[in-house]
Amino acid sequence: MFSLENITRFIHEWLNGHFNPTFALFMEFGLVGVAAITLFAFLGLSLVWMERKVAAVMQIRIGPNRVGPKGIFQTTADTLKLLMKEGLVPDGADKFLFNLAPFIVMIVAMLILAPIAFAKNIQIWDINIGVLYLSAVSSLSVIGILMAGWASNNKYSLLGAMRSGAQIVSYELSAGLSVLSIVVMTGSLSIKDIILSQQNGWWIFKAHIPALISFIIFIIAVTAETNRAPFDMAEAESELTAGFHTEYSGMRFALFFLAEYINIFIVCAIGATLFFGGWMPLHIGNWQAFNHIMNYIPSSIWFFGKTIGLIFLIMWFRWTFPRLRIDQLLNLEWKYLLPISMFNLLLMTVVAIMGWHF
């Protein structure tokens, strides 16, 4: 079959058969790098297109339909346009930080990609503290946003960055706790082990209501963490024009824009991995025949299908809900989500210790 697993194994064997192992390893490094960057660009472009189409459906209109069939090249054209535009740096800006900020946001987004398992045996870096790594690195992006807001020397940007800082730091907690509840179930921080533990059913089904609660909290928290509506306080175009990237233009703006979509993909991939078994096909207990049929669907399709499903959910939020106010946003986190997720973690621990899950 042409599943990703077989292709990579073929490449690996071919390289090792023709070159000496060290050289082959370096070539694999290069290939992975190229693949990661390609995936990055492809994801960014296709998710922007998807968002436009989802928005169009919600808003009873057609969406992009001129450039290419169904407008699939619209975002490519837009990116080319942004590439050709002048990247303006305001006079009062701190030039070094201003130029650095979009790259930090982008690099952080790329770093999180490392431990994610895209398909069976396809994982760039199977680190044994994978989940810890994810939550550690994902909170770095706030530095880029704060940097952008401060360096722009614009009051709107500053307010946006300030909001974003308060928001990401707070919602990191709930996201972390809900991730932890799955770690409690699995007993491992490694992404690979977490996926393998869902061999006979996904955690969202196996761990009853606590898993459902932590999934809901996870989705809310990551929506806030990626600065998406209804938590797009950092941008809030009706209040702060464009928030932290008000002063950015050209490709620097595009980097922020693409990083936002990569971040959505990543958080949805994490959600799919933790709660929906990543690339693991839908298995139900001892139904051998059913499980066997499900195994015929390639693992990469399972992974991307689940991720895109979650991405759609997050896009659906954006085009339905109005925005919260900054104090309501922080209230929601500190007064509701955090206590609930702490209690839920306790509940989950009890479930795990007593072995009440399937």
Partner: protein
Amino acid sequence: MIEEIGRTTEGDLIINIGPQHPATHGVLHLVITLNGETIKKVEPHLGYIHRSIEKMCESLSYRQFIYVTSRMDYLSSHINNHGCALCVEKGLQIEVPLRAQFIRVLMDELTRIASHELWWGAMAMDLGAFTPFFHAFRERETITDIMEKTCGARLTMNYIVPGGVMAELHPDFQKDVKRFIQLYKSKFEEYNELVTGNVIFQNRMKSVGVLSKKDAISYGCTGPVGRASGVFCDIRKLYPYDIYNKIEFEEITETEGDSFARYLVRLKEMQQSIRIIEQLLDNIPEGDFQAKTKAVLKLPKGEFYQRVETARGELGVYIVSEGGTTPYRIKFRSPGFSNLSALEHMVKGLKIGDLVAAMGSLDLVIPDIDR
């Protein structure tokens, strides 16, 4: 002045909202003083779209000046024209045919619905929800199509003239309006599902920008803004013009005076407008659509005042005539100006997000404020 902006002795943050800003729906310029996110002071700077309409009217004849007034509050241009026409008719003592009165009121109410539809979408957009805007425009488009068929224009209609209306109704008018009412009624529940019932929306609107009854009266707030604070200020009820005294409809009032009350008033007003249209639509009497008037209108020497209820509140038209073919002086009392003046009182001590919510609920049209 410009140097001062951005610096205060207390070290507060001063931000210019506008003249180019998504939340102001036009070229309103608010200089707001912030302490962190909390608003300490709001100072509106006007004049960015001042076209001296009142001065222009002084050199236009009584037939011509009405066209300029469509450009004041462009979302209720019919009602502006209506007010001016009524004022001129008052001076000339023209008896308007009953058919024309019916058509005028029908058009007024259609305009009111169209204006509130647009406001509904823009209000949701101010709070960060984009989708309602498109849903609102789906219905609003039907109204503009009806207007286009009869008046030939979609926004600045110039249809109501002294003595009646400009032209006969389009033959399809009744059929189209019925189709619109059917569409509107089938979609109205969607409005509540998508926006009114939303928890986030209610939290953003409730007890935000509270205006007490006393304050509403002292700031001169009219229209939905005044009525949401419990002031009975519907000109259609207080000083009925044309056939409004023969129509059954309710004056919607709320008591809370917050942004959500203003929101509810407008939503319910749309339904009352539908009720008015339904009463009139099948009973339009036969007859002339325009009274016989002289080619050149000359108002007798004196002062004339007429008020009408636009979608935003009370519009007053004040004409001083020296007996010539053009007015000596014209003054418009625009609802938006008084409503805007209450903004600072409403949002002091709240957050920036509340400023946007309160400003959206005032339903400001900037060309109406500046004229």
